[in-house]
Symmetry: C2
């Protein structure tokens, strides 16, 4: 009999609320014969304040036992900027080699977008997750003086670039439009730019059916608001991916519906799924947060574990729910979770 052994990290702020709904929908969608086991972990601001710990070796060993990880949100204004980001979120991505950061953007019918004319948006960004300017390389000399120099080193390897580019080509090949766009800034960041461009062109030769395109990251932000329909699959570096996926989320319904997966395709480590939004401390604990992004992250999780039918049921339920929202009064976090649970079970 089948089973899913899930690590659950509600985290901070609205993370608690949205993860509860994600689990509700997960339980509702899974067939009877699939045994769902969950274990909750207490990472985040509270534990940091109590113990000074963000993510220990023992924590990593514990998490490694699971099939996958569902995360709500980590971050709180009471913790200095960077501590939980570097000490937990990025540490986990690096420790578990989550090199494919998957961020789909689809503007569903009935969903509001800040763009005029309701454009067609249906693309997925494959963001590299373990290299680039995120490695923590760099440093500071003469800190706090007028002679301070601070550096940040973007590290890019053929190994790291090729594996994520290959993943993106495979995803593009599997989609109807079969189009892959490389986003970089190879006219200025020429060292990393050449590596990305060469690897991209090399792998492209193995995928003759995939149409390829290159655009600079600055121009990409223009196209994301003027011609988002030009994108099918995008592959890009860690920092550019961070920036353009927030913009992509904004134009395709907002971060209330943006899901993401931090994927280790080899399966050597569990992959982690989380909404793109943060912990939103201003609305935490009020039942106001939209759990849809978390529910869609559960759908990505199911797809990753091979439960394609169930993943599709969640996507359909979310589409139907969003299409019916219209001018109806706002529902609470748990009301939305309940409605989605009913839909996926039905």
């Amino acid at each position: 009999s089948r089973s899913i052994n899930l690590a659950v990290i509600p985290g901070d702020g609205i993370g608690q609320e949205v993860v509860a709904e994600g689990l509700k929908v997960l339980s509702a969608v899974l067939p009877q014969d699939v045994k769902l086991e969950t274990k909750e972990y207490d990472f985040g601001a509270k534990r940091y304040h109590a113990t000074g710990e963000t993510l220990t070796d023992a924590d990593l060993a514990g998490l490694k036992q699971h099939d996958a990880i569902l995360l709500g949100a980590i971050g709180d204004p009471s913790v200095p900027s960077g501590v939980l980001e570097r000490g937990f979120l990025l540490k986990l991505r690096f420790a578990f080699d989550h090199h494919v950061n998957l961020r789909p953007s689809k503007l569903l019918p009935g969903v509001a977008t800040p763009l005029a004319g309701q454009p067609e948006i249906d693309f997925v960004v494959v963001r590299e997750g373990t290299e680039g300017p995120y490695t923590g390389n760099g440093g500071t000399i003469r800190k706090g003086t007028e002679h301070e120099v601070a550096t940040e080193v973007s590290v890019n390897t053929a190994f790291g670039v090729e594996r994520v580019v290959r993943d993106a080509f495979a995803r593009a090949q599997a989609r109807p439009r079969k189009k892959l766009t490389l986003v970089h800034k190879n006219n200025v960041l020429t060292f990393a730019g050449h590596l990305w461009t060469n690897v991209f062109n090399k792998v492209a030769a193995e995928y003759p059916e995939v149409e390829t395109d290159y655009i600079h990251v600055d121009a990409a932000t223009i196209y994301l608001v003027t011609q988002p329909e030009r994108f099918d699959v995008i592959v890009t570096d860690n920092l550019f991916g961070d920036i353009i996926t927030d913009l992509a989320a904004a134009v395709s319904g907002g971060i209330g519906v943006a899901a993401s997966g931090n994927i280790n395709p080899s399966g050597e480590f569990p992959s982690m799924f989380e909404p793109v939004h943060g912990s939103a401390p201003d609305i935490a604990g009020q039942g106001k947060a939209d759990p849809t992004a978390t529910v869609l992250s559960v759908s990505l999780l199911l797809r990753h574990l091979g439960y394609d039918t169930e993943a599709a049921r969640i996507e359909d339920a979310v589409s139907a729910d969003l299409a019916e929202r219209g001018d109806k009064p706002a529902r609470s976090t748990s009301e939305i979770g309940d409605a989605l649970s009913v839909r996926v079970a039905g």
Copy 2:
């Protein structure tokens, strides 16, 4: 009697056409007693192909004699990516210490925006121009092999950050709303992020009237499409500034109207003014390019040289011209230049 000794670099593609109109409007707006001298320089793809040169020491010595520089666009598909960017555009910014890269964004009445609901947009981005990931620091080992490693080093100095932050505070202080937003990614790029944040907070103490704000670059792209009215002045690093100003241009009327200044505030070197758009080889030579961004760059140039009245006359002429465009048939590059010349002279 007063005089302006201007270096003119038409450059590639539509650069030639739009610069001609910029000069037309400049001549029309200047009072009789101001003597305008111009000298044209042939930088760009043609010269590169003919001589292999992009910008020599002798060129720099020549350019240094001028009061200011007007540039059309540099870049052509026949030149490998990076050659003219690093060899001309960035080389000039670094050689002339253009550390204030000024990019205003104003959505003028009657101008189309991809955003729904015609939001109020009137802000200016002060982008650092001589540091960050643009320094060309970094390198490649084992090039072309499966063990290639390519690095890009973002270099940030207290000296470089403080001077641009001071410039931005002074600009914010001089505007009615007096609000300055720092855009960075200090939760991930913690070395550079601490430097930027500390310097920003230190200078803020000297400007008690200026309201300050901080947002991460990824979130900034969201606000630029959902709440662009929240921005007044933005100060940011070279790469983040590159990215968000293209997005800012897109939402506030497109790159057809986006102007920029590469400014050396001390006056030790001449400042350079240019439209944000590129050379657009696909429409070059057809009289289709909109010269408005170049004309607005001329207005920034005049303001920099102290001709505030004339700069304002150009801005007013552009506003009036754009407001009347409506559904009228498209005009040619020179027709728009003629119309603006008539307006500024009248």
